[in-house]
């Protein structure tokens, strides 16, 4: 059982929420220029980490708003809850975000380049 602190409604049982999977997966702007392998990596490959993970939740039975969570998948400890349009602010969260393989994936490189233009 998870006990999740919704940023707007406070602590609630996890039965009130829906899981949104891994957070910070960016859709590539120009998917056509990715190879099948690169697109498969974006679409299907999972981080599925044993330990810290960044993930999305939505408070379905409450305020119906999305937010992000930094959780340990072994202990189910929730370390940080933060808005879905932001990056984690805790040290562990920042480190995990930076070291995640997606930061180096072709899909994400493409997204960043497009934004810079």
């Amino acid at each position: 059982m998870l006990y999740i602190k919704c940023p707007w409604c406070g602590y609630r049982d996890d039965a009130e929420f829906h899981y949104g999977g891994e957070a910070h997966i960016k859709r590539p702007f120009d998917a056509d220029s990715l190879s099948d392998e690169e697109f498969s990596e974006y679409l299907f490959q999972k981080s599925n980490t044993k330990g810290l993970t960044l993930e999305r939740w939505v408070h379905t039975s409450g305020c119906r708003r999305w937010f992000n969570v930094l959780r340990n998948t072994v202990t189910n400890e929730i370390i940080e809850v933060y808005p879905s349009d932001q990056l984690p602010s805790s040290k562990a969260g920042k480190e995990y975000y930076k070291s995640n393989w997606r930061r180096k994936s072709a899909a994400e490189r493409l997204t960043t380049r497009q934004i810079e233009k």
Binding site: Q45, S47, N48, K50, T75, N76
Partner: protein, 432 residues
């Protein structure tokens, strides 16, 4: 030769070359059953093996057994971080069936069911395989129509399946509630009469004993911490007890496939989630069929000990904690009590969770990997137990020949690149 000392419990069950039979049972009765030999040895690992199988669950042990028995590979080790069958092999609800809709799934699951039918004889170990029938319920007009379509597809693959109406279901399962005023009434169902259950521990022990007698080394309490990879080819595994060289490595670690793929330097399209089950106090025989319901998500059977064995759904979130949320169990029990009012005063004895590796298309991966001579058999999701013999059989074939056969070919890792997915989400018995 020194007679092996008798041992406790599961390891105390076989003398050299002794076959289990009524005669060996009678013979050992004269010595108060103190002279049964170990069912398998627990040797120190050698420095090198032709094949190392990581994961001593049913699938891994079956793989080792078939490598030795079908492919003549005797220099094989099975290594496990814990004890045999301590993972999902000992945590599932032991349901066996092959009524899957797609041809690819029918191929692997029916292959497996056929092996189940002769498994106790082949292993000389009673797996308590019981073909008591698996009945899947429909609770709406739409579901019933979909079920009829699925039954035709299943029968086209030569797999037995029959649609039953509520009256026929009531006759088969007298304790079921077919009152049409239920929130989710029983509108019909389909049954695979060749389906059923088996004793999960016995499957692991039977394969372990048979593999051991063919020369396979079974090494427990030896966690794999890394792979030795040279020029894109695996050459051995690093373990808690040191490095072991290997010609080939097969990885069958339900719940941890993603972790081991990470150690080898690649990723899998797998999410690991808790799946829960629970058993009641034992009662007299009351249910001789396996009942599954997809839409209210409940499955139940009665074990030979008399316990009602309930299976709940998987939690939605990723976790390696081997426990799930209570609301999943509450939802399942609410459905169970509505369908079987007689269960309402049953007390539950135990509940537990296992970590299941689920693929985006709810079908397994039995495949070569980006690393040469490293093979993965994973992603069985919520329903791997039924496939134990078939999975081991075809995985052994893949490892021995380094080439997929007609059954394993569709289950390649590459299907997530070329898009040839085998979408079994809810197409079979219970939602994944």
């Amino acid at each position: 030769m020194k007679k092996p000392r008798s041992n406790f419990g599961m390891q105390g069950l076989r003398s050299e070359k002794e076959k289990y039979s009524i005669f060996s049972l009678a013979r050992n009765a004269f010595t108060n059953h103190e002279n049964w030999a170990q069912a398998w040895k627990s040797p120190e690992p050698k420095t090198e093996y032709d094949v190392i199988i990581i994961g001593g669950g049913g699938h891994g042990l079956a793989t080792a057994y078939y490598l030795a028995s079908q492919h003549g590979m005797k220099n094989v080790a099975v290594i496990d971080k814990g004890w045999l069958g301590g993972g999902n092999t000992g945590r599932n609800t032991t349901i066996i069936r092959s009524n899957y809709m797609w041809d690819e799934s029918a191929g692997i699951y029916e292959h497996s069911l056929k092996l189940w039918e002769n498994l106790s004889q082949e292993l000389n170990f009673n797996t308590m395989f019981s073909q008591r029938g698996v009945l899947t319920l429909a609770h709406s007009e739409h579901e019933l129509k979909e079920m009829n379509r699925r039954v035709e597809a299943i029968r086209l693959n030569g797999i037995d399946s029959d649609v039953l109406n509520p009256a026929q279901i009531k006759k088969l399962v007298p304790i079921i509630n077919i009152n049409p005023n239920l929130r989710y009434p029983v509108m019909g169902g389909f049954i695979q009469r060749r389906g059923g259950t088996a004793r999960h521990d016995a499957v692991a022990w039977g394969y372990a004993r048979a593999a051991d007698s063919l020369g396979v080394d079974i090494i427990q309490n030896c966690e794999v911490t890394g792979f030795n990879i040279k020029n894109g080819k695996v050459t051995g595994v690093q373990t808690a007890n040191g490095t072991i060289k290997a010609g080939k490595v097969g990885c069958v670690v339900a719940g941890h496939a993603g972790v081991l793929a990470g150690l080898a330097g690649f990723r899998l399209p797998i999410d690991s989630r808790p799946l829960q089950a629970l058993v009641s106090e034992p009662i007299k025989p009351i249910l001789d069929t396996v009942i599954m319901s997809n839409s209210v998500h409940m499955y139940v059977s009665q074990s030979d000990k008399g316990e009602m064995v309930f299976g709940a759904g998987a939690d939605s979130y990723n976790s390696y904690a081997q426990k799930g949320s209570l609301n999943i169990i509450e939802g399942m029990l609410a459905a169970a009590v509505e369908l079987f009012p007689v269960f309402s005063r049953l007390r539950m004895l135990r509940s537990w969770g296992g970590i299941v590796d689920t693929c985006p298309d709810a079908s397994p991966i039995i495949s070569k990997t980006p690393i040469d001579n490293l093979y993965f058999n994973c992603g069985w999701g919520t329903g791997g137990f039924k496939a134990t013999p078939g999975s081991g059989h075809v995985f052994a074939d893949l490892i021995a020949r380094n080439e997929p056969n007609s059954i394993t070919a569709p289950f390649t890792l590459n299907r997530f690149v070329d898009g040839y997915l085998i979408d079994e989400h809810g197409a079979a018995g219970v939602a994944h």
